[in-house]
Assembly symmetry: C2
Homo-oligomer: 199 residues x 2
DNA sequence: GTCTATATCGGGATAGAC
DNA sequence: GTCTATCCCGATATAGAC
């Protein structure tokens, strides 16, 4: 299906504008705190026009989340093959470079803990998938004898994710006083031992 | 000033009921997601009556936060004198025992990252105070030679707080699959070496 | 595709009787 | 202290003209 030409060209463009502004709004005021009016105004269109492209607020939220997911995975796929430690740090650094991305995830993931929130399923699945992926990586490291003795892969996976998200939140409150990357690196260096042949 | 007897006795009681229900509401739906109407209904009183006791929604939020703070510190003050590691774990375990408390802090601390949020100052100061307190504790441990070499007290303080909050969030999504206490304990055991004379 | 106009609802806040 | 009634606003959503 072509979208760059033809009758849907303008629509696709509009949708992208809207998603961009919705992203900014959700990242600063959360889902409940944002209004379709402000997103429409920021997009330079009327409220009704926005609703012509996205029937409901929930549809807009889901679009924002999945859209960012695709872009995020795209940025990472170019880095495949990196060792786990470097992969995580690169991913974190990449996220830091995208304005508002950290705020978006921090705010929405907390807001969506309640079952009724439109983003609940998304984040529940996201955490689950992340934990499984990281646990597998830590298990591989352990098989290579590169995991510090006593460190459980499943627990380490949960911990890395938790640490990263928690330090991001503190960073949002006090960017000058919190170094998110350093905290993540320090933890990884605590649990992962250097590659033997690299010495 | 006496509050248990006299003309203000009923008022204090009402206020406590309201704060309790507001606490439940904020802990499940956040600040923006909660309405004074629902809190009033849960308290068994009218909206106007609630507003007679708390003029604004913001005043109610601040009251909920500070009230919980006082109760929290009260619970901890009975545990003073414990070593840092045990102190942190006890505090965490105590929080787990209070229904909704973790949800309250998780949801509100993320919601309040934006400057305009009524709870912003509270959480900014809370993080700052916590970091300073924990950094001092880690510094003491280092002076006693009980901190693993290479571990920075300031970074460890930020990390403990981040890890704790992050793992709580995952726990809210999947209580069966995440063990918050175990993750916290595992990290502390990574950075703190056992007391020498305890062997 | 885009707009104006409006419907409908729920929010916080206020007035005033009892 | 507590209520009913109401105001005013802003929210999502819909109808229909252009």
């Amino acid at each position: 299906m072509r979208t760059r030409r033809g009758p849907y060209a303008k629509s696709a463009e509009r949708r992208q504008q809207i998603v961009e502004q919705a992203y900014r709004a959700f990242a600063t005021r959360g889902y409940h705190g944002s209004s379709l009016r402000e997103i429409a105004a920021a997009s330079g269109i009327s409220l009704s026009n926005l609703q012509h492209h996205f029937a409901t607020k929930e549809e807009l939220l889901v679009t924002v989340l999945t859209r960012r997911d695709e872009q995020g995975h795209g940025a990472v796929s170019g880095r495949q093959g990196l060792p786990f430690r470097e992969h995580v740090l690169a991913q974190a650094a990449a996220n830091e470079g995208v304005p508002g991305l950290i705020a978006l995830y921090s705010i929405l993931s907390a807001e969506a803990v309640t079952q009724e929130h439109p983003g609940h399923a998304y984040f529940a699945e996201r955490y689950e998938a992340l934990r499984e992926e990281y646990e597998a990586e830590f298990s591989t490291l352990r098989a290579q004898g590169r995991l510090r003795p006593g460190v459980e892969p499943a627990l380490a996976a949960t911990t890395v994710i938790a640490l990263w998200e928690g330090v991001q939140l503190q960073w949002l409150y006090a960017p000058d006083r919190v170094d998110a990357g350093a905290a993540l690196r320090a933890y990884l260096d605590l649990v992962i031992v250097p590659q033997a042949d690299a010495l």
